[in-house]
Symmetry: C2
Subunit: 428 residues, 2 copies
């Protein structure tokens, strides 16, 4: 692990740099699959599922029987754990509902916003060895709270044509409407154009490999919205001398095990912490099943100490971490002045894992510095806010003349006329 002591500001952009991910070479592959799915529908899905997932499926829908069997195979302990997590996620996301707040900007001119659900949403859940059923909770629960009318889940089948039991359980628990055993670019294409069996949706959510990421980008070219641009996951931990090096190391490693390209940064105002944390990382990493992956990520990670808290704060804001764990005496300073982060974990007993699974916050968060301009997934992500205005005859008389002047100055006479006609009618 690279230790950096009091780096000068001009070197920060180097330290906070993310690996460049260039998906442009995938554009051709994505365009090919999109064209085929658009033209051939389900039969293209079958072909690509055979090609990429090595299984021939006659029907992509996870049947009722299949779901029931899966549910019966999830242990009751795990079910209880998932239900606790689901309950917390539901509480927190339900609290995010927009209250209608009518404002009378001028007497007779009332304006307000209301959130309405996005009708059809698609949720992509990756397959592979680790079934990410927690992501089903993070996406389907707020979709349901928002009132989305159709929640469609796509996830790749394994070579036996099956999907992990836990994914089917989580989907059933959260009220997913339809589950399709289709993955990769072809799943995103199906959600983009619709096929005989899969409906076109308005917005696509969920993580995925570089192919899925490139396919989601392509979907935006066809009018769909996506949750956010994707990049490798990342964590920044800030701690002063009071932090617990073992806890900190465990947090850094829980990020590092995600993938070789995961980013992990430790920042402190106590130089002695650097070696303490490093020692703990080296000790804990050896017993991890995914240590080969974690070691690659840790090799690229940085332990940084600064002399001033202001430098630390500025450094964190310059980085804009997806996950940010903070354990410091003067936590108020770091919280109040924080500008960019995805999700913040405060104190010694708030590991990132808590937010990944069960505290109630969402784990679909902006990576790659996107925290500077994007929110993580929340209830808003499944709605759009519509503005309403209702103007009385008194109201249009109050603001009408201003509108006429402004419209005229912009050279838009018809805009002016729409007011002039109404004012004339009222002055009759």
């Amino acid at each position: 692990m690279e230790k950096i002591i009091n780096p000068e500001r001009r070197s920060w952009s180097q330290i906070t740099k993310r690996p460049e991910v260039d998906n442009s070479d995938l554009r051709g592959i994505v365009e090919g699959v999109f064209a085929d799915v658009r033209a051939q529908g389900d039969s293209a899905l079958k072909l690509y599922t055979e090609k990429f997932d090595k299984v021939v499926l006659e029907n992509f829908v996870a049947s009722k029987e299949e779901v029931e069997t899966a549910i019966s195979r999830v242990s009751s302990d795990l079910k209880a754990a998932i239900e606790l997590a689901a309950s917390n996620i539901e509480k927190f996301h339900a609290s995010q509902a927009l209250a209608i707040n009518e404002v009378e900007t001028v007497a007779g001119v009332k304006c307000w916003q209301e959130a309405r659900p996005i009708e059809k949403v698609g949720i992509y859940i990756p397959g592979g060895t680790a079934p990410l059923f927690s992501t089903v909770l993070m996406l389907a629960i707020p979709a349901k709270i928002a009132g989305c009318k159709e929640i469609i889940l796509c996830t790749p089948p394994n070579q036996e044509g099956k999907v992990a039991n836990e994914i089917l359980y989580a989907a059933q628990l959260t009220g997913v409407d339809r589950i399709f055993k289709v993955g990769g670019i072809q799943a995103i294409a199906a959600l983009t154009f619709g096929t005989e069996s899969i409906s076109k949706v308005d917005k696509i959510f969920g993580p995925g490999n570089q192919y899925v990421t490139a396919a989601k980008q392509a979907a935006t070219q066809y009018g769909l919205a996506i949750d956010m641009p994707a990049g490798p996951s990342e964590l920044l931990v800030m701690s002063d001398a009071n932090g617990n090096p073992a806890f900190i190391a465990s947090d850094l490693l829980s990020q590092a095990e995600h993938g070789a390209d995961s980013q992990v940064i430790f920042v402190t105002n106590d130089q002695a912490m650097l070696s303490k944390v490093e020692t703990q990382v080296e000790k804990q990493i050896e017993v991890l099943p995914r240590r080969d992956i974690a070691k690659l990520a840790i090799a690229n990670s940085r332990l940084v100490s600064f002399e001033s808290d202001q430098d630390i704060l500025d450094f964190i804001n310059a980085y804009g971490p997806e996950h940010y764990i903070l354990s410091a005496e003067n936590e108020e300073f770091f919280l109040k002045n924080l500008i960019s982060a995805g999700s913040v974990f405060i104190g010694n007993y708030t590991p990132e894992s808590a937010g990944d699974y069960a505290s109630g916050t969402n784990h679909t968060l902006p990576t790659n510095g996107y925290a500077k301009a994007y929110s993580g997934v929340n209830l808003d992500s499944f709605t759009k806010k519509i503005t309403f205005q209702k103007i009385t005859s008194q109201g249009i008389q109050a603001i009408g003349p201003a509108i006429e002047l402004m419209a005229e100055a912009e050279g838009l006479q018809a805009h002016k006329n729409a007011v002039t006609l109404r004012l004339a009618e009222l002055n009759k």
Copy 2:
């Protein structure tokens, strides 16, 4: 104008279809300008400004003197109108601020969201004959309320190297930090990469022609956020027999004068209204300075009558209009069940012009059916919401075992360890 009586549902997708805008042929041009501005900075801006705007500028900044001169040239009547509009826009957008709402999902597990400003935002304002100073208000006012630290405005100079007085006045009134006389693809490239004189920003807002639109799309490939995808402007008016055909026609025309590709649709449950509205459109259009543009848009517009209100409602939701004017006895039915629209104008005295300028709502709205998944610009657009969680020792003991089980089931042992270590410490 095409009149359509009681169209069958299967024909709706045809009636609600927008013109396809394909910017892919602009990709090469955009990439060229982006590469030059990235490599050459201001000198590339100079070159492209000379090429596209036909003026050689030594300095892109609108100087203090220039701004003061411009301000002195705006009439006091227009200034008062702009100030009234600004005041209403400020009131409504300030009311959208997120209240912090802490939720204790489980005893000892507190979660909340806070909005933080996007630090650096760029506002693009088109040049040309009609100076769109109202858009300066719509973008700079919420940026200022959000607390954005740097608000940069780019707008193309005319052949004398000048910018419209009203734009400079509005920029000064709303607290824009820096005004640059740079337009087109090169302006978007400058905001994307930064140059010697223009800072790189985090998010770009504002309308523009097809080149600007394609350039904003390209900016997203370099990690920037944009307000929303763009398309031609559109309006749907719904009225029953009580609507005023002259008012309705004036509203349709105020949309039609925007551009030949503007979309205008009138929907009613009273077939007799179709001809009444058409007659008024034909009468009013003749006196418009922009009638040649308006006639092209009107030629593509549709007057549609339905027998059932439910059909009307479904048709409107299928269309997802950017602007939606509603004048009907049973307005509650149409409001309560509305799913997709950008901004809604209710009643006979609420013309679209009101929201375009001065009611307080924003006029930067989703077009092209994007209202199904996107909100218009609002205060949220200039912030991101960060989630926070703080867990006590009691809290982690409550949810820790569930996290351990879920992490293990997902094959993420390090995620589990981060909890196990803490629980062990507490059980010592």
